[in-house]
């Protein structure tokens, strides 16, 4: 088969089994767009801004486990995509981003729409390529998918100069069936001896704690995590990225941990004697003050990425390996072991945890006359029976969604955890809905975040991806306002949005349904009505309490046992 470079790009995507490609055309990718036009297998989703393309591909990837694919032009097309690439990089999301580049002979001449895409994206990709020879095009794309999806996943950029895709130059095409790179061996099996030692330590614990993160979801190891946790009977917490890896409604689950984690999860972290970290990376939002992190605990850490181990916190037993197989080994060793966990110590530990749980740290004023944002998320959870895919933007609403929507399954909670990218939620929801057309998809957002990618409402109409937007509108950049209240004596420097569009009219002008909800009693009926409109995108603008804060909160630089629990209440007052 003889194909042009442009046709090779499209054929490679077909051979990779790519279903959707998210993109925006421009000069340098016109040959590729022409090749796309002449086929029907790959569906192209035209976004309204390249950032939206990357987030939509990201949402598709997070909800399916398959790589998201993006196609953008050179220069501004590539730079607009950078935020989305960095978002995917921080959360280890498999993505292949094809960027157009000016023709090879003019690279370096400051040509129109030229930028050093490989240079600009280098710090925020797993790897990137500049294709300099059409004969290496197929192999490079194959490598890109291989690198993006194996080991610790991540985004890979392939920069393709326009002359590489010239329609008139045809070369024989064959997609490489397998690929191996001498410098990259992603598949690692955990060291059996280390795993044995890890299990021994775990079984000897009196106050054990399991702390699992996004790595469980990326590694599709949720089933194994559940089996091991139930087998041991230990308490478990998930990170923001790990929510859903262990069922949120299970009795062994004691909530999310970290800056806005539950009182019981953070206290259990502080008091545990053995910590088992599985696919988590000891992020600063999780650890708090490092010198006081789990001060009594020996730490076991399983991760596919050796660089994650002992990066922020020294661990006692490291295991480098893919989560699924390592957890399989651990289950097998636990089952075969004659030694069992110390049940007496364990029940004492659970009693202590129950006392922490009794504090009911997520309580809020249910009798308020204004809409409490937590109430909206609770009702959303109840109405969708916890089965919806929930995307979010970044800020207070994100934390309330994480706290109040109990995810029982992996890949249902789609949010930008590492980079914290406002504007992520709506395009991500479109990507999720394309992948799961029959599922309910909601985007929990805020009036500040949503405006950062609001233009994708047009995309949602064009491709009939009916998502439900739950806008928790408090008039402020809520999380910024909260920090200013706590740390800057309520000097609300530029966190108040004096002018906010009429979201109902805005939604309508984009061809969607808009709803304004300003009374607590209208919350449930509005949600019900919105979700009944199966084939419509609905923008629900909830006017919520502008003064509400997210609790508990560990302020930056504090330790797990130093939490603000409610206005004027911290762990010091509570424990005294």
């Amino acid at each position: 088969m003889e194909l042009s470079g442009a046709e090779i790009v499209v054929q490679c995507l077909k051979d990779e089994g790519v279903e959707y490609i998210f993109g925006y055309p421009g000069g340098s990718v016109l040959h590729i767009y022409d090749a796309l036009f002449q086929q029907d297998d790959i569906k192209h989703i035209l976004v309204r801004h390249e950032q939206g393309a990357t987030h939509a591909a990201d949402g598709y990837a997070r909800s399916t486990g398959r790589p998201g694919v993006v196609l953008v032009t050179s220069g501004p097309g590539a730079t607009n995509a950078v935020t989305g690439i960095a978002t995917a990089y921080m959360d280890s999301i498999p993505m292949v981003v094809l960027t157009g580049q000016v023709p090879l002979p003019v690279i370096g001449s400051d040509a129109f729409q030229e930028c050093d895409t490989v240079g600009i994206t280098r710090p925020c990709v797993k790897h990137n390529f500049l294709v300099k020879d059409v004969h290496k095009l197929a192999e490079t794309i194959r490598k890109a998918f291989y690198i993006a999806t194996t080991g610790r996943p991540g985004p890979v950029v392939v920069d393709i100069p326009k002359d590489i895709t010239t329609p008139t130059i045809k070369i024989p095409y064959e997609y490489p069936r397998s690929i191996s790179l001498r410098s990259y061996n992603p598949s690692v099996k955990g060291h059996r001896w280390q795993i044995k030692k890890a299990v021994e330590l775990l079984m000897s614990a009196k106050r054990p704690m399991i702390y699992s993160g996004g790595g469980i979801i990326l590694g599709n190891a949720s089933v194994q995590l559940i089996e091991l946790t139930r087998l041991l009977g230990y308490p478990i917490t998930n990170t923001l990225m790990g929510l859903g890896a262990y069922p949120g409604t299970d009795r062994q689950f004691i909530g999310m941990l970290g800056m806005h984690g539950t009182y019981e999860a953070n206290m259990a972290m502080h008091e545990c004697d053995v910590l088992f970290a599985a696919g988590a990376r000891f992020d600063d939002r999780v650890t708090g003050k490092i010198p006081e992190f789990c001060p009594h605990a020996k730490i076991i850490h399983v991760d596919v990425d050796p660089a994650s181990i002992s990066k922020n916190v020294r661990v006692d037993i490291p295991v480098v390996g893919e989560l699924g197989p390592v957890l399989d080994d651990m289950i097998e060793i636990v089952k075969a072991s004659e030694k069992k966990p110390n049940q007496e110590a364990l029940s004492e530990w659970w009693e202590r945890i129950a006392r922490w749980q009794a504090l009911d740290c997520l309580q809020y004023d249910r009798g308020a006359s204004v809409i409490k944002p937590q109430y909206v998320v609770e009702q959303l959870y109840d109405l969708t029976r916890g089965e919806a895919f929930i995307t979010s933007d970044v800020g207070q609403h994100q934390m309330w969604a994480a706290q109040f929507y109990k995810f029982d399954k992996p890949r249902r909670w789609i949010n930008s955890g590492g980079l914290g990218t406002m504007g992520f939620g709506l395009p991500a929801a479109i990507g999720v809905k394309l992948a799961h057309p029959d599922a309910d998809v909601a985007c929990v957002t805020g009036e500040a975040s949503i405006q950062m990618c609001i233009q994708e409402l047009a995309t949602a109409l064009q491709y009939r991806t009916p998502v439900k937007l739950v806008n928790l509108n408090n008039g402020y950049m809520g999380m910024v306002r909260q920090w200013q209240e706590f740390s800057y004596e309520s000097r609300y420097s530029h966190s108040y949005l004096e002018t906010i569009p009429d979201f109902v009219k805005l939604a309508e002008s984009y061809g969607h349904v808009g709803m304004l909800i300003d009374k607590p009693s209208d919350v449930r009926p509005a949600l019900e009505e919105a979700f009944k409109l199966k084939d419509r995108t609905v923008f629900m603008d909830f006017l919520t309490d502008p003064t509400e804060n997210v609790y508990p909160m560990i302020e930056a630089g504090k330790a797990h046992h130093e939490m603000r629990l409610a206005p004027g209440v911290s762990t010091d007052t509570e424990l005294a």
């Binding site: 490989v118 240079g119 280098r122 710090p123 797993k126 790897h127 500049l130 690198i147 790179l181 001498r182 410098s183 990259y184 990425d305 050796p306 660089a307 181990i309 002992s310 990066k311 020294r314």
Partner: protein
């Protein structure tokens, strides 16, 4: 502590900037960095001298290994090794000081490789500390120009860094 990390890396354009970019992005120190092709044209050999605590060096080697283009690396300072650096110094050498500079060069087993009536270019090879000592011995005022290659090195014995 000072560590010498020897790296085999794919001889691809941009490979060097992946390494230097990693160091600047993560705030690691680079004391010197040398890079050149090896007997295998597809591979470059890089020698990187850095300073850091054991924890930092561990992270540096892990992060370097994580780069897709890095094929193999070793920390030379962990084993018995040889290190060498090449230095060229252009010094003022007029009538009164010519003999003294020549003698000093001989003592350090250096070579004078360019001569004019008023200057020498001296080549000295050795460990970093030897080159430092030579410079210390020279009259600072006499130095017109100085260039150093950065440290390079390999393991002693028959074991080598290869694929």
């Amino acid at each position: 502590m000072r560590h010498i990390i020897s790296i085999l890396i794919e001889n691809e354009s941009g490979a060097l900037s992946r390494v230097s970019g990693l160091f600047s992005a993560r705030g690691y120190n680079i004391e010197s960095l040398t890079v050149a092709p090896t007997e295998d044209a597809s591979l470059s050999r890089m020698t990187l001298v850095t300073i850091g605590s054991d924890e930092i060096i561990e992270q540096i080697t892990k992060q370097l290994n994580k780069l897709i283009d890095v094929v193999k690396l070793i920390d030379l300072s962990e084993s018995s090794h040889i290190e060498r650096e090449l230095m060229l110094v252009k010094v003022r050498a007029a009538n009164g000081t010519r003999e003294e500079v020549k003698r000093l060069t001989d003592i350090f087993r250096g070579r004078i490789i360019d001569v004019t009536p008023s200057s020498y270019v001296i080549e000295v090879t050795g460990e970093k500390s030897k080159l430092d000592a030579f410079l210390h011995a020279l009259d600072e005022e006499a130095i017109i120009e100085l260039v150093r290659s950065g440290t390079t090195g390999m393991l002693r014995g028959e074991k080598g860094l290869s694929l």
